[in-house]
Symmetry: C2
Subunit: 453 residues, 2 copies
């Protein structure tokens, strides 16, 4: 939907909701794709969302379920929280279980249990099984509904069987299993189309199937799907039995989410922070990071405090403090960005860590020399103080070297601590570049103080 | 491939290359998936890459072409540059044209023209047509090879026709066109499988096809595919004629690339900067941003220079300068991160800009109050100077408000200038938070100087 159209739809929807014209609301949205209704939801406030979902639920339960599937689990959960248990269960029952699991786990514990108890047994079991797996693993995001047939089934029986199954998520591959449910191969619909009716699947299947384990990290799953250009990937358990399938639309969600998470973690933001959150919620989410920043930002003042005497003697040093600190921070951010992102997209394993460090140090020295000379010469030209120029120039060169060193090490160091390589990295870097930069600058200045004045 | 296995493969490949055992090199890689060979390439230096691609080319041209398709266009182009024209043309001819176009345009102009002239006419035309479209549009990334049949074709003729076509990219949908090539509908392979042989396509096709225009931005295309959970999206020209198809694997590349670009642009990094680039290349790519940073970082010193007298009178102010600046920067980064990312994933249109600004300002004031009080009280406790505590606390509160204001406005302002909303945003923000933060802090201190000392 174009922005203008969306604007109009939002305005109309809000009007209909607020005057209670629910049948006009229904007429407005009934032909929209669920993704479009979800997009509309993003622009409504909680009360309006609740009315819209109730309107959908009363006219077309499937549509309500589809819209909830399209929403972020956080948004879906916050809407559902306000509905009676039996209505939640009723909607969740017709929602694919891989979309139900992430929503349910965001509901208050008691409510979750009540909903699970109220749902049909088959769905409950499927959802419980997904929830049994660790968060952010293949087992958690897979769909337990998939086409899988025994390797001895022939093509014509396969086609008949597929016609009977209608509630399976958009299937592009048919997985082939043996008598013990072990994944044996895969058949594309295209191969089915072009094979003789009495051929058993095992004769036409591709045996070399790329699969992941239930406990594989979702980021790794996304990498496999992206590298091998798949539209779905089967998930097997520790015994090699087929447990589920992850389709590419879920992979896109993972990639989007992980990319956002990289940015958010680098810049000290909670990964669940959303633009639609209330100011109070966002304050609560951001404060812990800011309090941590308060600690990291308190190191540089300690350094400066040590040199108070020097600054008192030659106050021009205070003028250049922000410059030395800022240049180190910016150069270090460049290094951090490239390291975090290349670790994320799997380009850099520990394998090349030393190579990367060596390269970044050379870049730091090279750029440091250029910036240091410019800053040194410019300050000399302005202040006519040769030693000031020298101290400043050398401090900038050293700080860019430090920025490269620390910028490369932080992501690897965080990973060594089993933390996300991006987590608060920009923040940590600033602590080092601010304090080491100022230490170098003010330290050199103290040493040459007699010449500076 | 696991890290340990990859490490071993890299070591063996390098050994075989360096001692010239090319048949052992071939035996090592011949059963690898092209994506795995591409991954191996990432860990080799130029000379080794060239030998590997030549080895592949001599034994199995298709494999060489597939590996080149899997590489980043930049890497593929830098390898091809060293090959003779007829060999480049020979490989490019068997590479899908949507992968050829981005590689060719990175070659030197003369070389590109020579390769285009040496390729088979059909391929040349396809590639030239793609290159006719703007970069980063649907028309540039689409594949001109797709299944499309006339709406009057019946199911059995369709199946026969599809069996004859083998060089089409993995097709999951069959597009249906009228006599003038206008896109009319879509048929899934599943529908074909379950329909009677003599039914014409127009009776079974879905008419409501989601499509994009050749000039649609690739980010918008990615958004559509993600929102509507598609595995392929058709591209039509201005007359509604079907021009190409974009498959989900290309969309994943777009999403990955755009996410990396967001991070790189925010942190002032060239989007083509790679960990494998030589130090000299990276220096050249990063210097322009650093020189720009030198300008933005020179604003704060001007502010401080204005207050030299105040600092001379009360040098403790210099101690707290880095703290005021850092807190503003970090809080502002949080706002920038959320704005850039939510604009990127399409959550925020101009529609909600005012709402977002209002919210961020409230968050800025809230967090500012908490941090300001902590900083004020702590400095009072340490220095026993009530006015220092007050000045510092108020400066932090004001700077967090400014950070929220500037952090929200920068992305929208950059977009207003038709620039990327992320471009250098963290850098620009720091300029404002450093200088306005220090202006507030030192300004207040000057005003209360009599009480401070």
């Amino acid at each position: 939907m174009k922005v203008e159209a969306l604007r109009l739809v939002i305005r109309s929807a809000r009007k209909f909701i607020n005057v209670g014209s629910l049948s006009r609301l229904w007429n407005l949205v009934k032909n929209f794709h669920p993704a479009e209704i979800a997009n509309l939801m993003d622009h409504l406030i909680s009360r309006e969302r609740l009315i819209l979902i109730n309107t959908l639920y009363e006219r077309d339960k499937d549509k309500a379920a589809e819209v909830l599937s399209e929403l972020d689990p956080e948004d879906a959960a916050s809407i559902l929280e306000n509905l009676p248990i039996d209505q939640i269960a009723d909607i969740m029952q017709i929602t694919p279980s891989d979309d139900v699991a992430p929503i349910l786990e965001l509901l208050p514990e008691e409510m979750k249990d009540a909903v699970l108890a109220a749902m049909a047994q088959k769905t409950t079991e499927e959802v419980m099984e997904l929830l049994d797996h660790e968060q952010e693993t293949a087992g958690r995001i897979m769909s337990p509904n998939f086409y899988a047939l025994n390797e001895n089934t022939n093509v014509s029986d396969t086609i008949t069987a597929m016609q009977l199954e209608s509630d399976v998520e958009s299937a592009f591959y048919l997985y082939v299993i043996d008598d013990q449910d072990h994944l044996q191969g895969v058949v594309s619909l295209r191969q089915l189309l072009f094979s003789r009716p009495n051929t058993p699947l095992k004769n036409i299947m591709t045996r070399d199937v790329i699969s992941v384990h239930t406990e594989t990290d979702q980021e790794e799953v996304a990498r496999q799907v992206a590298d091998y250009n798949l539209v779905a990937i089967p998930v097997v358990d520790s015994e090699g039995k087929l447990s589920g399938v992850i389709t590419v639309d879920d992979i896109i969600d993972v990639i989007d989410k992980e990319a956002t998470e990289d940015i958010y973690k680098m810049l000290s933001l909670d990964t669940t922070d959303r633009i639609q959150d209330s100011p109070f919620t966002s304050i609560k989410k951001r404060l812990p990071f800011l309090l941590f920043s308060l600690l990291t930002a308190s190191v540089a003042p300690l350094v400066v405090k040590y040199f108070e005497g020097t600054i008192q003697d030659f106050v021009t040093l205070a003028v250049f403090m922000p410059l030395v600190a800022a240049l180190g921070g910016i150069a270090g951010n460049q290094t951090i960005a490239i390291m975090v992102r290349e670790i994320a997209i799997g380009q850099t394993e520990w394998i090349s860590a030393r190579k990367a460090l060596f390269k970044e140090l050379l870049v730091g020295i090279g750029n440091g020399l250029v910036l240091g000379v410019i800053v040194g010469v410019a300050s000399y030209a302005i202040y006519g103080n040769l030693y000031l120029g020298l101290v400043l120039g050398v401090a900038v060169i050293i700080n860019l070297f430090v920025a490269a060193l620390i910028g490369t090490l932080i992501p690897f160091f965080l990973r060594l601590l089993k933390l996300d390589p991006a987590l608060g990295s920009v923040n940590l870097l600033t602590m080092f570049t601010d304090s080491i930069g100022l230490l170098t600058f003010l330290g050199l200045a103290t040493f040459f103080l007699a010449y500076l004045k």
